[in-house]
Symmetry: C2
């Protein structure tokens, strides 16, 4: 059994990644039992890997013996955030936008075939949309995800569709590759994308892209609201906010 997936990767590292991802899914800490179950790894193997990770500071152990993500990840992670200074720059702009329209504003970055929520400004209303920081969603069910796909061209979208099978989250999810391409192209031309209950029934989003000094897409900004409260007037506001963050990152139009 050699390289079943054709990837030239080291087994332990792939397994470690699975363990860390599983661990990140728990709000605070998790026991060996759950982690080995979630990852499908033999408890003995999971234990050995986790012990090694603990030794290096990638995970920590609670008094109860459970595992949680470690300080070293925070340290290394803050280097990454410092590099793409998005979060820091975005925070203020996001809060202004939230105050202006009264709905939740999210900042997401792409990771593989998904977007990850990295920052947010939550609406202070009884009914609101709220994403957990660190949670993920496939590209094709989110407004910014569709724009990120559009950046890569039609072949890449086709490849994405092939790879993921465009799983449906609601009856409105775009499950047809053709429709996704059309929608993505339209969004790129307009400079914003909508999500009409494609990820969750009753939730509507407006999203726009954030670019760094080099013009590369580094994040996506979006407003998420109950669909009946969403207003077309917000579109220019979302675009302006995304552009404001881009400008702070050194992007001068384009």
């Amino acid at each position: 059994m050699k390289n079943p997936k054709g990837t030239a990767s080291i087994q332990v590292i792939e397994r470690m990644a699975r363990l860390l991802d599983a661990l990140a899914a728990y709000p605070d800490s998790a026991s060996l039992k759950f982690l080995s179950a979630d990852t499908g790894l033999h408890p003995s193997t999971a234990h050995r890997i986790l012990a090694s990770l603990a030794e290096q500071g990638f995970v920590e152990r609670t008094e109860a013996g459970d595992y949680r993500l470690g300080r070293k990840l925070a340290r290394l992670g803050c280097r990454v955030n410092a590099r793409l200074d998005v979060r820091r720059e975005a925070q203020e702009v996001m809060e202004r936008l939230r105050d202006r329209i009264g709905e939740t504003v999210n900042l997401t970055v792409r990771e593989g075939d998904e977007v990850v929520y990295v920052e947010r400004a939550i609406a202070n209303r009884m009914m609101r949309v709220e994403q957990v920081i660190g949670s993920r969603a496939p590209l094709h069910v989110t407004a910014v995800g569709k724009m990120m796909l559009a950046e890569e061209g039609e072949e890449a979208i086709a490849a994405y569709a092939e790879r993921t099978g465009l799983p449906a989250f609601t009856e409105h999810t775009l499950t047809d590759p053709e429709a996704l391409v059309t929608e993505a192209r339209a969004a790129a031309e307009r400079g914003y994308a909508l999500d009409d209950e494609e990820a969750e029934l009753g939730v509507g989003c407006i999203g726009a892209l954030v670019r760094d000094a080099g013009g590369n897409v580094v994040a996506g900004l979006s407003v998420s609201a109950p669909i009946e409260r969403r207003r077309a007037e917000w579109i220019p506001l979302v675009r302006a906010a995304a552009e404001e963050i881009s400008r702070r990152l050194g992007w001068n139009g384009g």
Copy 2:
């Protein structure tokens, strides 16, 4: 050659940690050549591990083929930071303290035998002390480090001295285990510690500890200034700021 250090760790994970640390030492990106040289790993081995890490998103590759820390680290890291919400809570307090006394304020967390700088509010003066976020310093040459040592008791300080050899950074560095124990105990009793040019000539610090809801030390707050500008009047301000952050984290005195 089995477990030369007696540790039951997985080799690849230890090597991966070395590579990531080496990578973190570079401001932006680094080439395979430097990374393998820095870590002492065979280029072939370093390449294979880095490729695997890249596959999992722990590192990314630049257009030039260089390596840099990846998004996944930011994502996992932000989970850690969200847990110990220190940085977010600290930011505002730190800026207020900085504005009050006009000198650089740092937030550090402990990692093994070192403190890591995770947040800061920089003095806006021509001459100022400025630490790079992510950089480190041994416990015994910093104000907060000495307080963190004091938390663990004398035996632990002795063990630390034994382990590290208390390397001298300046002629004022405490290189005698006895002196370090005395100093640490005094600092713990006072509730603050000083650093009198022990890390760098001309730099003086005042540090105090930040505790979470459980009373555990989660970080250290310190003011760093040119030694001749440092004032004893700042001591209560630093302590108050550290306590304010602790309070926000749920700590109610102790």
